[in-house]
């Protein structure tokens, strides 16, 4: 595996002349859980759209496990698992049918796909519900299916765009724990966009994004030292000058 799971260099992006990202740069190493913290409108979703190549990178560079997203798109995307902010599951299809669709898009053999689906669903305690329609699942369970789906092709980086929005407290807690456990278990790296500070673990790395710019970047103690604050909450407040939504 490449020594850097995600590298973002000097990345800028504008919507009709309005800057959404301004010279953003940071990197994520294998086995790291990086929290992308920023208030609403900070540029998190734009950054995700650029990493996933839904938008074109015009200024700057993004690499996934050493593959340039713009020039080696397919190789780069194969390294990536994504959970978008809005649910992207087909409501009228079953859990199994949704996951099979994903394995087909990644060109997985039927036998391998079946095995991987079983492994991931078992890991998320969802295997017994594989023949249920997505519509019948609650929000927390839908999210688990989406995370399981994102892991089927064994990506090296998992992107999560505010995956706990709209969930109740126990479901939210379970998902935060699950994802941190995934990082502990293997060589998976995670980039987790959120504006909820209680989703951060002490071992996590932090990228604070505000008005399209990286305000802080590094392990939590380093960010606290840099801001001279005692808690992430205070540091975040100082870095965004009370700009939280």
């Amino acid at each position: 595996m490449n020594s850097i799971a995600l590298s973002v260099e000097d990345l800028s992006f504008s919507y009709s002349g309005k800057k959404a990202l301004d010279k953003v740069g940071f990197s994520i190493h294998p086995g790291e859980c990086t929290i992308l913290l920023g208030p609403n409108g900070a540029g998190k979703s734009t950054l995700f759209a650029l990493i996933t190549r839904l938008y074109d990178t015009r200024s700057g560079r993004i690499e996934l496990s050493g593959f340039d997203v713009k020039k080696q798109t397919r190789k780069a995307l194969a390294m990536l698992g994504v959970v978008f902010q809005q649910t992207t599951l087909d409501m009228d299809l079953t859990v199994m049918q949704n996951l099979r669709y994903h394995t087909a898009l990644h060109g997985m053999r039927r036998k391998v796909a079946k095995q991987r689906i079983q492994e991931e669903l078992e890991r998320f305690d969802m295997y017994e519900r594989r023949f249920e329609k997505i519509r019948q699942l609650n929000g927390g369970h839908r999210r688990r299916v989406e995370i399981a789906r994102a892991l089927l092709h064994k990506p090296s980086l998992l992107l999560l765009d505010e995956p706990t929005v709209g969930l109740d407290v126990p479901s939210r807690k379970a998902i935060v724990e699950h994802v941190h456990q995934l990082v502990k278990d293997g060589q998976l790296s995670v980039l987790w966009a959120t504006h909820l500070i209680d989703e951060i673990y002490p071992d996590d790395h932090l990228v604070v994004l505000h008005q399209g710019q990286v305000k802080a970047n590094g392990a939590i103690p380093k960010v606290l030292q840099q801001t001279g604050k005692e808690s992430i909450d205070e540091a975040f407040f100082a870095l965004t000058q009370g700009g939280r939504a």
Partner: protein, 268 residues
């Protein structure tokens, strides 16, 4: 191994589209009711009013219902193409389009698969319609039902590509009503689906010219001739060219480097 990847992805996309179609029964029924209403009500009413002269591919005088059938097949495919594009706009708003777009395959290929999947659905609808029409004694030569298949594939792809192109422009689901008014209705009414060209010429030269160059007319004529075991070369070349143009424009529309995607659904 890469070919296998493409193959599996293509079947995954087609399988999903067919599954969705089967699960949405009301979509299937409404797709069928529309042309049948035209056939049983509109065509029956106009039967007396419109005389159809003998013109290729027909070798005898025909009833208006017989004339209108290929036009209604075109209508099924036109609506299906627009329905697919509507579902793509919906998917994009709902986010499920993103799962397709982040698959590690070229975007043109993913769009092409989506198009084949939509065409497969429309061909299914057409054969059910032809079955009902046959029961109503609107019969084509038996081999015609086989020859019409490649014509249906090409016309379905052309109309689907038009839908794809439109979906790359449409920003929100609400704008889709405009597509109905400005694309589907003019394309259908200003074509040879309901009246032959010579009949249109009697009333308006301009309408005749529009109908003649309307790609939908050419698709309908391709289907009409194929259904009677004949190959209309001009209609084939025209429909194929329209497909290539629409598809190329749609691929450009969905290419992030060309900018249209950047205008859509940005978020912060």
């Amino acid at each position: 191994m890469r070919i296998l990847h493409y193959w599996r992805a293509m079947w995954g996309i087609i399988g999903r589209e067919l599954l969705r179609f089967v699960k949405q029964r009301e979509r299937f029924i409404s797709a069928l009711v529309r042309p049948l209403l035209w056939l049983f009500v509109f065509a029956a009413g106009f039967r007396a009013a419109l005389g159809i002269a003998i013109a290729p591919p027909y070798e005898t005088y025909i009833l208006y219902e017989v004339y209108i059938t290929p036009g209604l097949i075109g209508m099924i495919q036109l609506f299906n193409g627009m329905q697919s594009s509507l579902s793509m706009v919906y998917d994009r708003e709902m986010g499920s389009m993103r799962i397709l777009m982040v698959a590690p395959l070229p975007r043109w290929f993913l769009l092409f698969c989506k198009l084949i999947a939509g065409t497969a659905v429309s061909v299914l609808q057409v054969y059910v319609f032809l079955g009902v029409a046959w029961l109503y004694e609107i019969e084509a030569p038996l081999e015609g039902y086989l020859w019409v298949l490649p014509a249906l594939l090409l016309s379905g792809m052309m109309l689907g590509a038009l839908g794809l192109l439109l979906s790359s422009f449409i920003k929100q689901l609400e704008n889709f009503a405009g597509v109905m008014n400005f694309v589907i209705f003019p394309m259908f009414f200003m074509s040879t689906a309901l009246y032959p060209l010579w009949k249109i010429k009697e009333s308006s030269e301009l309408l005749h010219d529009i109908a003649q160059y309307n790609p939908f007319s050419q698709a309908v004529e391709l289907i009409r001739f194929a259904l009677y075991n004949q190959f209309n070369q001009e209609a084939f070349i025209y429909t194929l060219s329209a497909f290539v143009i629409f598809m190329t424009a749609a691929i450009l529309g969905y290419n992030p480097s060309k900018g249209m995607m950047t205008r859509k659904g940005g978020g912060a």
